[in-house]
């Protein structure tokens, strides 16, 4: 099903943050490397999950892909354009092909804006007529199974599940090529979690866009992806089809992940 043109590709990416050292070393800054030469390719229409726990560097990896963190070394391409070589203006026009759903819905929705403004924000400066934007908003609201009544509400009047749906609606309104989700289910309860997984998969089928989900939960990854990538301490330790990774893990850390999941079996 996934044809072969690549949407996101990372080659030998090394990334990290500037920090000050301790004691006398604090006089000058050095880069605390988090990602160690990561190679990653995501093709059109493919469903990929990155599985990693806190400290594995999965958030840093997302930031690099989203053009928010320039890597120390390596090449990052989105739709075959080297985004870190482009100035911010052009980079944003490339990133318009990317839909992004952050992790904590409470931090991702401006409490002073109504849902309608939040959802229509990506279309704002795309020289589209207001009537058309209105139409598009109703379309995506229906797609994420929310009633139109929600549009006039403020974020703190919504439940956790509804907030996540609003964020997903916002991320697909400008018809991106790929949808990137950071821990889409971790802030939700089990019953709502299943609803969101269903929603993401239905969007994947209907809009034929690639899915890149980051999660620490192997079980969720199983339902959200064809291919899985295990990230441990900044480097990819295993990659492959999700079923193979679960049934025949190669790397010792993957064993540990499965064991700690199985212990409750």
């Amino acid at each position: 099903m996934p044809n072969n043109n690549v949407i996101v590709s990372l080659r030998d990416v090394v990334a990290g943050y500037l920090t000050t050292g301790k004691g006398w070393r604090s006089l000058f800054k050095h880069v605390n490397v988090v990602l160690k030469n990561v190679n990653l390719r995501i093709c059109d229409g493919e469903r990929v999950t990155i599985i990693g726990e806190s400290g594995s560097g999965k958030t840093t990896l997302l930031k690099v892909i989203l053009g928010l963190l320039k890597p120390v070394r390596g090449e990052v391409k989105v739709l075959d354009k080297e985004i870190y070589k482009l100035p911010w203006g052009e980079r944003v026009s490339v990133l318009r092909q990317v839909g992004y759903v952050p992790q904590d819905p409470y931090k991702a929705l401006n409490p002073k804006l109504r849902v309608k403004t939040i959802i229509s924000e990506p279309l704002e400066h795309m020289s589209i007529k207001p009537r058309e934007i209105e139409e598009r908003v109703y379309e995506v609201i229906k797609m994420v199974q929310l009633s139109n009544k929600v549009l006039d509400k403020y974020p703190n009047e919504l439940s956790g599940g509804m907030m996540q749906r609003v964020l997903i609606a916002r991320s697909i309104i400008h018809d991106p090529e790929i949808l990137i989700l950071d821990e889409p289910t971790s802030a939700l309860d089990v019953s709502i979690q299943a609803q969101i997984i269903e929603l993401i998969n239905s969007i994947h089928k209907r809009l034929e866009l690639a899915i890149l989900a980051v999660t620490h939960d192997l079980g969720v990854a199983q339902y959200l992806s064809d291919r899985a990538i295990i990230l441990y301490k900044g480097s990819i330790v295993e990659e492959g089809y999700i079923d193979e990774v679960i049934t025949r893990p190669r790397h010792e850390y993957t064993n540990l992940l499965i064991a700690s999941y199985q212990v409750f079996k």
Partner: protein, 321 residues
């Protein structure tokens, strides 16, 4: 068999600024035998933590209680009167959810242990330190190293183990653990569960676990109570809460949990749990239950079924009253 904890129609609510009471726990009754691992399972906002806090005795001041709660026979909650003297620390102890904020950032681990032991038993610094070192090594922490360290200098796993050391140092017989694993990574979670089980045996504790993870509850606990919207829908043994759930809600929860290895269709439960301020008549789960029928309009009593208790009219027929 002495009952460690016994609750009779316990109700707990919070008063908001406009003086009306939001009942988080709408009348629960359960019993925990000594030496048993009892587990309260439920999704966020269902009131399981409130029940836990009521047993421990750290309900916020704007809380209101009703019904009865006994710890080793001593009445702790009677109506809105609560008396935890002699219970806190000495009998019931607490393993916090996220260790990072549950240790005093301004004192070293050793000093905190000293204050706990000094308050509970009145021991001086020397004796407290001795006991402290014993318990720190019990939780696999190097006593010499940890005693003089501040909490922020320890890793997440070490902080959690330090909190457990403090909780056990008072020699408490009942330990209430509120989501002990949710703030930890996978392998730390594994070690912590093993540690808790080992301590339960060696110190002959009664463990009250509070978690949202149905699968974990099933595996670790002897008996499980499923909590939903402030009520206990089902009480059964740990082993068959996943395999043979009684209440439709537990059944749906079990189906919604992704299991490793085989891909079955995830059945999601439509709708959202009721908000605490919504008045609910009849069975709390009725609006979201696909098996609801006309009887569900009245609140179902707890039917005793051979494997446990369940509050659902479908069991009216074959249950012994």
């Amino acid at each position: 068999m002495v009952l460690a904890v016994r609750a009779r129609n316990l109700r707990v609510g919070y008063v908001d600024e406009d003086e009306n009471i939001l009942w988080a726990v709408k009348g629960v009754s359960f019993e925990v035998n000594q030496g048993e691992v009892f587990c309260l399972v439920g999704e966020s906002g269902c009131g399981k933590s409130t029940i836990g806090n009521t047993i421990i005795g750290i309900l916020p001041p704007y809380a209101v209680t009703d019904g009865e709660l006994h710890v080793f026979g001593k009445p702790v909650v009677r109506g809105n009167h609560r008396d935890y003297s002699g219970i806190r620390g000495r009998i019931v102890s607490y393993v916090p959810q996220n260790p990072g904020t549950s240790l005093n950032p301004y004192q070293t681990i050793g000093t905190q242990l000293y204050y706990v032991l000094n308050s509970v038993y009145g021991w001086d610094k020397k004796k407290s330190l001795e006991v402290a070192k014993k318990y720190l090594s019990l939780v696999e922490l190097d006593p010499e190293e940890t005693v003089d360290r501040y909490p922020h200098e320890l890793s997440g796993g070490m902080q959690q183990r330090a909190a457990i050391a403090i909780a056990l140092s008072t020699g408490a017989k009942i330990v209430v653990a509120d989501e002990p694993t949710s703030a930890l990574d996978a392998h730390l979670r594994l070690q912590l569960i093993k540690l808790l089980m080992k301590l339960k045996e060696s110190e002959s504790l009664t463990l009250v676990m509070i978690t949202h993870d149905l699968v974990a509850a099933g595996k670790i606990c002897d008996s499980v109570a499923v909590v939903y919207a402030g009520e206990i829908l089902e009480k059964c043994s740990g082993s068959n809460v996943i395999v043979e759930p009684l209440h439709p809600y537990t059944q749906m929860l079990a189906d919604a949990v992704p299991l490793l290895g085989f891909k079955r269709r995830l059945k999601s439960i439509p709708g959202e749990p009721p908000r605490p301020d919504e008045e609910v008549t009849g069975c709390v789960f009725a609006p979201r239950c696909h098996l609801a029928f006309e009887k569900c309009v009245e609140p179902p009593p707890h039917f005793k079924v051979y494997k446990g208790e369940v509050a659902c009219w479908r069991y009216a027929g074959n249950a012994k009253q």
